[in-house]
């Protein structure tokens, strides 16, 4: 199986983010990591390759720092990487990103494309599905499990409220992967060493052809207004604990 994994670099989950001066995006100077669902997509791809043979290729669109995501993926076992690195590719919406990804792989023949079900920054949950449509391939979203079978694959989809569904589909196909489907591996020292010699191809906007204008525009980014009156407990942890127990007993009547 020849598998492409689309990965995104996003701000780390537990860092406090600052707005930029124009209030349209966050300040760049923060720490970043691989988008968590994309990391699970990579893990699934690597396990499929280990079971059925083939190749795992990783791709990411983003500034120079995004190379870190690709290096990590190479260290974990991907065989090569494609980096769409160009100022013109920054701030693309889901359609623009999907068009860039489709253009970047137009000369390759993948059996499967895996990506995370959504990104931890924008959370559009659209890019993978749009990519499938641009390529003319079927897709499945929120995938928990992938099995190869005659004539294609069988995937397990997560539905709402604890329901699931198996879906049979032909290849090539695009799957968007849910977090937690397999245990993530760590890169080994050997892997990190080998990654340095693995091919990493860079493509610029000019290599991808026209992507068209964004269809969505973020006018403003801001801290959400509170809709609730919150009572903030002050003091030492012990004082907070005491106050909380009083409130639980006297106001909420649960003690």
């Amino acid at each position: 199986m020849k598998i492409l994994v689309c990965m995104k670099q996003v701000p780390q989950k537990d860092v406090t983010l600052q707005l930029n001066e124009s209030g349209t995006w966050i300040r760049e100077d923060t720490s970043y990591e691989s988008n968590e669902p994309d990391a699970y997509a990579l893990e699934e791809a690597l396990q499929l390759k280990e079971k059925h043979g083939g190749e795992v290729v990783v791709i990411s669109a983003g500034p120079a720092r995004a190379q870190q995501v690709l290096r990590e993926a190479l260290a974990k076992g991907a065989s090569r990487a494609i980096h769409l690195e160009d100022a013109g590719l920054v701030g693309l919406d889901a359609v623009g990103t999907a068009k860039a990804l489709a253009a970047a792989i137009r000369d390759e023949q993948f059996d499967l494309i895996l990506t995370g079900l959504q990104s931890d920054d924008c959370g559009y949950a659209q890019t993978g599905v749009i990519l499938a449509e641009l390529l003319g391939w079927p897709h499945a979203t929120i995938v928990m499990q992938v099995e190869k079978q005659d004539g294609g694959i069988r995937v397990k989809r997560e539905l709402e409220a604890g329901y699931f569904q198996f879906v049979d589909m032909p290849m090539p196909a695009v799957l968007t992967v849910q977090s937690g489907i397999k245990k993530l591996r760590y890169a080994t020292l050997m892997g990190i060493k080998q990654a340095k010699n693995k091919p990493l191809r860079k493509l610029a906007a000019a290599d991808l052809g026209p992507l068209g204008p964004n269809l969505l525009q973020i006018q403003r980014l801001y801290i959400p207004q509170k809709t609730k009156k919150t009572e903030v407990l002050n003091g030492t942890p012990a004082e907070m604990a005491k106050k909380l127990v009083e409130m639980l007993r006297n106001d909420a009547h649960v003690i």
Binding site: G180, N214, I223
Partner: protein
């Protein structure tokens, strides 16, 4: 053609998805601001009863798109049917709920129509002749005002719980229902879905719990779960968790609260080290009193909290367990 809003509603095997009433309320609310009338569409095979149920609401018209290929759901058939229908009806705005089904087909539909999709919106206002949508970004840390730049139709999905389904306005006289029989060629549908199922019966029904102690990523390690369990035991509360904790296998999946787990509304929901990503918040924001303990004062969980403890949960837990035990001993 006059501008209209199309509400895309969801049914399965002749039963309306309750969240579709929220879609109706959302569409009616936007209609109140724009003056654009609302039409509704439902798709399936034998969905006429559902269409008639929808017709009890104040709508311009209800369409029932019928084809044997629309049941069971596939993204191929749904986007094929809707692309054709939207191409003919030319609504200005298409409103959906951000269900797992809409998440599956709406981006595909948008790509087919060449139009933008604002997914997972929580509000919409009409301002200076422009629709401005609000959606959460960066895991709920920020909200964004988002507009469409291209030509209509515009597509949007709303997060569950931001419009109230019971506020959908009723019709004075039943709305007209029009059945449209669609011919969907075999080759369109490329995937074959099996029956929907539930994994081994859920052992724990958190929906009935009066008091829930829930742990998130902030609990850091599996061994620390024990501390949260001690608190839950002392309080007589059920223990629950956000997705990452269950993904790590630290608590079983049937303890998960959120869009992919259970939706709960206890008297008290005590969130320990839960950041408040929207996927979690939708599963618990109906709780009567929400207590949040998080060391990050900017964590989105505090937006929905009634009582906030900005502190390291490992500093708060030991004295809290002790205080609870003391209080219980007295009681």
């Amino acid at each position: 053609m006059a501008d209209t809003i199309l509400a895309v509603l969801e049914q399965r095997e002749g039963k309306l998805n309750r969240v579709s009433w929220e879609t109706v309320t959302a569409a009616q609310a936007i209609s109140g601001q724009t003056g654009w009338p609302v039409e509704a569409v439902v798709m399936g095979s034998g969905a006429n009863n559902v269409a008639r149920e929808i017709a009890g609401k104040k709508l311009e018209k209800v369409y029932d798109l019928e084809s044997p290929r629309l049941e069971p759901y596939t993204p191929d058939a749904f986007s094929f049917a809707l692309k054709r229908f939207i191409g003919e009806r030319r609504p200005k705005l298409v409103v959906m709920s951000n269900t797992y089904q809409a998440r599956d087909f709406a981006p595909k539909l948008a790509a087919q129509l060449g139009c933008g999709l604002v997914s997972d919106a929580v509000a919409c206002r009409y301002q200076g002749g422009q629709l401005v949508f609000v959606r959460k970004m960066f895991q709920g840390k920020f909200a964004a005002d988002v507009t469409f730049t291209g030509e209509p139709p515009f597509l949007t999905t709303f997060q569950a719980g931001f419009f109230r389904g019971d506020q959908a306005q009723d019709a004075e006289a039943a709305t007209a229902v029009e059945t449209v029989n669609l011919d969907i060629p075999d080759a369109v549908v490329r995937t074959r879905p099996h029956e929907v199922f539930k994994e081994a019966k859920q052992a724990v029904d958190l929906t009935q719990a009066e008091f829930i102690v829930a742990v998130g990523r902030g609990i850091k390690e599996q061994k620390n779960i024990e501390l949260a369990k001690q608190l839950a035991d002392a309080l007589g509360a059920e223990i629950a968790a956000s997705r990452p904790v269950c993904d790590s296998g630290w608590l079983p999946l049937d303890r998960q609260v959120g869009s992919s787990g259970q939706t709960v509304a206890p008297k008290v929901y005590l969130a320990l080290g839960i950041s408040g990503a929207i996927q979690h918040v939708v599963g618990m924001k109906g709780s009567k009193t929400i207590v949040a303990v998080n060391k990050d004062g900017d964590a989105p969980i505090f937006e929905v909290a009634d009582i906030a403890l900005v502190a390291n949960l490992f500093d708060v837990l030991p004295p809290l367990i002790e205080e609870v035990r003391k209080a219980k001993a007295v009681a």
